[in-house]
């Protein structure tokens, strides 16, 4: 083996300007990774009633499966919540606030909320620079007792403005999480 390496070395030496030795990059972190999606719902009638829905997948695509905490989130019936969604990349130290990038490119992004609990609605309350919905801030209203899911999708480069539905928005999906909800 040694001879081969030496020979190989001999070949490259003549081409030193074109070939560099392998750089040790110390392992590249996935800069665009989103590890954590936190939806915070604050009861408009009672600021102390805060429900936090968290999605975590610390090792990104592959590896361990993502985790929802709590597994099922409990909301009160006929209540209005102020919603705010926060994206983190927790592999950075300190964790990177991904919302900053979303806000910075608000015209290229939009959140879509699709509840499958009867009577539950989500209304986007913030806008991008062009006055189109963005969806970091929301108003969430619950109805009667029920269970189901809340699907949250962040679309990159959707058509804006759009008809407000996922199907009509186009673009590619950057985030898709499904929180389990129990309204009681």
């Amino acid at each position: 083996m040694k001879t081969i390496k030496l020979l190989a070395l001999f070949f490259i030496s003549g081409l030193a300007m074109t070939s560099c030795s392998s750089d040790d990059d110390g392992g590249e972190n996935d800069e665009e990774l989103i590890t954590t999606v936190v939806l915070t719902l604050t009861n408009t009638a009672n600021a102390a009633d805060i429900v936090t829905l968290t999605f975590t997948d610390l090792d990104g695509e592959g590896g361990n499966e993502p985790v929802y905490t709590p597994a099922v989130s409990t909301l009160s019936t006929n209540t209005t919540y102020t919603g705010s969604i926060q994206l983190w990349n927790a592999t950075e130290n300190p964790p990177e606030d991904v919302n900053e990038e979303i806000v910075g490119e608000a015209d290229e992004h939009e959140f879509f909320y699709t509840p499958s609990v009867a009577g539950m609605t989500v209304v986007k309350t913030d806008t991008d620079g062009d006055g189109n919905p963005l969806g970091i801030e929301t108003t969430v209203t619950t109805g009667t007792v029920g269970t189901g899911g809340l699907n949250v999708v962040l679309r990159h480069e959707p058509s804006k403005p759009n008809d407000g539905t996922l199907a009509g928005a186009g673009g590619s999906t950057d985030v898709e999480v499904n929180y389990s909800i129990s309204v009681q």
């Binding site: 081969i4 190989a8 070949f11 110390g26 590249e28 361990n64 990159h156 950057d174």
Partner: protein
């Protein structure tokens, strides 16, 4: 003429007392290879205007020579005429080497039937055919050969496929240098400028050992032209313009040759297209830009020669914008919608997603012939491939590539061709190769292919033997040792629990764990044995029979071992496995050929059995922050591929001729008893051409190509939960598109231009009826139709 040889002159010294006109020159002509005398060579003594001939012993005698110079012109059938001048001062003794292999030296272009080996089963594309594809890719040109298809990503990234096999299973040899350009990726097309090629051979059979042991699919040989050793300067400039994509190609080349054997060639081409269109919509972001240049300089004589070659390819390909999708629900949406999700107006801009690839190739080659032995050649080459892939990214990262790989390859190889025996020819040689992949840092994405160093050592011997005038056999053996040493970080969960590498490969662990990733140093060594056997038999009526058997083995490529990442265009995560073993193939190819202008044919059945065939197939679904993704994993199975390629040419009348071909292929995954993934469907072509030599070589033709639906495919369709619809939806990734028929029209005419040059004008229409269709072997077939009608004009000026 096999006696054609080097001539040795022996002048016998005689003591002469007079200085004038009584010297005697005795000579003897001998065969360069086996020292047999050359009979009947003509020697013209210029000064005396007198002829002598060598006798039955190859000897000759010239008497009564005066003091001073004597010039001999020695000629013999099939030998190049040689002129030598000696100073006669008393008696002299000189040895002269005569150049021979005239046919090799004197052709301006490579002659039509130079096979790499007389027993090899191959098809060729000549320069004229290559010129028709000046604004297309290598894959497009090869697609015209029966049994050759392509795996496409869109319409510009075209990967050749022989008998359903592609990527690392095909060896692409450019000017005697094996191309290494991250060819393991399905969406990576070979970085070849087709305009630099003089001739392209596709070797379907087994006689490929000189180039490597892993040509399971076959070999693609791109050769440059040979030039005659005469004082000349000539060139070609061609321009091609197209309506589909509103772009084209300009290519220019100039060649200078000298009588002493020196030659040089410069070539450059530029290609640019905007967005292409299908019959019904614009294919947004499918444009391309390509800048290529090559230079050759060399010296060629019978005894010795050298060549230096350098080529440069700079490609930028836009990738259909609508093919960038986020997760499997996006994929379902794309499949069900039937048309691209993004259709913009025509533009020349190449936005993300896109590929930007730079490829440098350089080589130096030298050869020398040795008396009574053969020809020894030595070649050194290097290649640098820099591949950058850009994707739609967040936060001002659009100019930061997601993939940035630099692959450096260098090799030293030597070949000794022993042709001293009449009936036996031997080739033997060795190869040393070093390869280094550098996943360039700064992408902000963990690299798809890690840093690695690879070492190869190989040696081979092949031989052909003439049993009799009509029968020739060949055999060969090759051994390769390969070692790969990589450096890669694995997610701890993958390393320990999911793939169990901590128990299988504890020796690769470095002990360093950062951010729940473990640094590892995987190392693998492979010993590959390969062999070939060939037989050719010539029958009357121009019929030849060929039979090839080949044993080929291939080590898993870096992609199959290490790849780990998300492919947006396929909404899939691709995983390579460290447990991959080498692939071993046994292949049998037969061919019955009749070379005849009036009625010729080739019937070529083949059968390949591949042990531990490595394939990439869907294996479950993983959930990520982007939603669900199918995971495609490499696995190994036993596979069988067999089929038949048939070509027919028939002259109908003086002006009309017919060509037809059909390729049938079946691929089976024997381990799971299902069809093999990504196999080309049955296809056939018919073309009819009118050609009139007297009418400015006018040629008008129609060509029809039909590709049937592939009904034999493995069903990897699955269901995924759609949270919006609150139900499982069907993900149809396996079903194949329906059959289609395309008709092309082509015409060309030649005019004289200047004194010696000529102008060729061609007008072509492809997809004449503007048919909407999708091709099973296009990775973007889920998103958009293939190209619609295109009008093309080509002007080619030879001067």
């Amino acid at each position: 003429m096999r006696f054609c040889a080097i001539i040795v002159l022996f002048a016998y010294f005689q003591v002469g007392f007079t200085q004038n006109c009584d010297s005697i020159l005795l000579g003897e002509l001998k065969d360069f290879h086996d020292n047999t005398p050359i009979v009947g060579a003509t020697l013209f003594i210029k000064n005396l205007n007198k002829y002598v001939t060598s006798d039955e012993n190859g000897k000759f005698k010239i008497e009564n020579l005066c003091k001073g110079e004597i010039t001999l012109v020695i000629s013999h059938i099939a030998c190049e005429t040689k002129t030598v001048t000696y100073n006669i001062d008393g008696d002299v003794f000189k040895s002269v080497f005569l150049e021979h292999h005239l046919e090799q030296l004197n052709e301006v272009v490579v002659s039509a039937n130079t096979k790499i080996d007389n027993t090899s089963i191959q098809r060729s594309l000549k320069k004229e055919t290559i010129d028709d594809f000046s604004d297309k890719s290598l894959g497009d040109a090869l697609n015209t050969i029966s049994g050759v298809s392509s795996l496409n990503t869109g319409n510009t990234i075209v990967k050749p496929m022989i008998h359903g096999l592609h990527s690392s299973r095909l060896l692409i040899i450019n000017n005697n240098v094996r191309l290494f350009d991250q060819e393991w990726g399905d969406e990576h097309a070979p970085n070849i400028d087709i305009n630099a090629a003089g001739r392209i051979d596709v070797i379907k059979g087994a006689n490929t050992l000189m180039y490597g042991s892993d040509a399971i699919g076959g070999l693609i040989l791109i050769r440059s032209q040979n030039y005659a050793a005469k004082d000349s300067i000539f060139g070609t400039t061609s321009l091609s313009l197209n309506t589909n994509g509103w772009g084209g190609n300009i290519n220019s080349e100039i060649v200078r040759t000298y009588e002493n054997g020196l030659y040089g060639k410069l070539q450059a081409s530029y290609r640019k297209f905007g967005d292409f269109e299908s019959p019904e919509y614009q294919l947004s972001n499918t444009g391309l830009r390509s800048v290529n240049a090559s230079a050759r300089i060399g010296y060629k004589s019978f005894e010795k020669g050298f060549e230096a070659y350098y080529s440069f390819v700079d490609n930028e390909f836009g990738i259909l914008r609508a093919s960038h999708i986020g997760n499997v629900n996006d994929l379902v949406r794309a499949i069900n919608s039937g048309e691209p999700q993004v259709i913009d107006d025509f533009s020349y801009d190449i936005d993300n997603p896109r590929q930007s690839i730079l490829h440098h190739l350089g080589k130096v080659e030298a050869y020398k012939r040795f008396k009574g032995l053969g020809k020894l050649s030595v070649q050194y080459d290097f290649q640098i491939n820099r591949r950058k892939e850009f994707d739609l990214r967040r936060g001002n990262r659009s100019n930061t590539p997601v993939i940035d790989l630099r692959l450096f390859t260098t090799s030293l190889q030597s070949n000794l061709k022993i042709d001293a025996y009449d009936n036996l020819k031997l080739n033997t040689g060795f190869l040393l190769r070093y390869q280094q992949n550098n996943a360039v840092s700064g992408t902000g994405v963990s690299p798809l292919i890690p840093d690695f160093d690879k070492y190869d050592v190989g040696a081979y011997v092949t031989g052909t033997y003439n049993l009799d005038l009509f029968t020739e056999v060949s055999a060969g053996f090759r051994y390769d040792f390969s070692r790969i040493e990589a450096e890669k970080r694995y997610r701890l969960a993958d390393w320990n629990e999911i793939y169990n590498y901590d128990e299988l490969f504890p020796e690769f662990e470095s002990g360093t764990i950062e951010d729940s990733r473990i640094l590892t140093f995987p190392e693998f060594s492979f010993h590959n044995f390969s062999a070939s056997l060939g037989l050719t038999r010539h029958f009357s009526n121009d019929i030849d029979l060929f039979f090839n058997y080949g044993l080929a083995s291939r080590m898993p490529n870096p992609s199959e071992l290490f790849s780990d990442g998300l492919h947006h265009s396929a909404a899939r995560i691709e995983i390579g496995l460290l447990t991959m073993q080498k692939e071993v193939a046994n292949k049998f190819v037969m061919s019955i050929e009749r070379n005849n202008q009036n009625f010729g044919f080739t019937v070529s059945p083949y059968y390949k059995y591949i042990n531990d065939f490595i394939q990439l197939i869907p294996n479950g679904i993983t959930t990520t922050v982007r939603g669900a993704f199918p995971v495609w994993e490499y696995n190994q199975i036993n596979a069988r591929i067999f089929g038949i390629d048939i070509d027919i040419n028939k002259k109908i009348s003086n002006f009309f001729s017919y060509n037809g071909s059909i390729s049938l292929l079946q691929g089976d995954n024997l381990s799971d008893d299902i069809p093999l993934i990504n196999m080309p469907a049955t296809n056939f072509t018919n073309s009819i051409t009118y050609y009139n030599e007297d009418l400015n070589q006018l040629s008008v033709g129609l060509r029809q190509k039909t590709v049937l639906q592939q009904n034999r495919y493995p069903d990897y369709n699955f269901f995924t939960f759609d949270p919006i619809l609150q139900e499982d939806v069907f993900v149809d990734i396996s079903s194949t598109p329906s059959a289609y028929t395309l008709v092309d029209f082509n015409s060309s005419i030649n005019f004289k231009a200047f004194k010696t040059g000529n102008l060729n004008i061609a007008f072509n229409v492809s997809n004449l009826f503007n048919v909407s269709y999708r091709e099973n072997l296009n990775r973007l077939r889920y998103f958009a139709d293939e190209l619609g009608r295109n009008f093309n004009i080509k002007l080619k000026l030879n001067y």
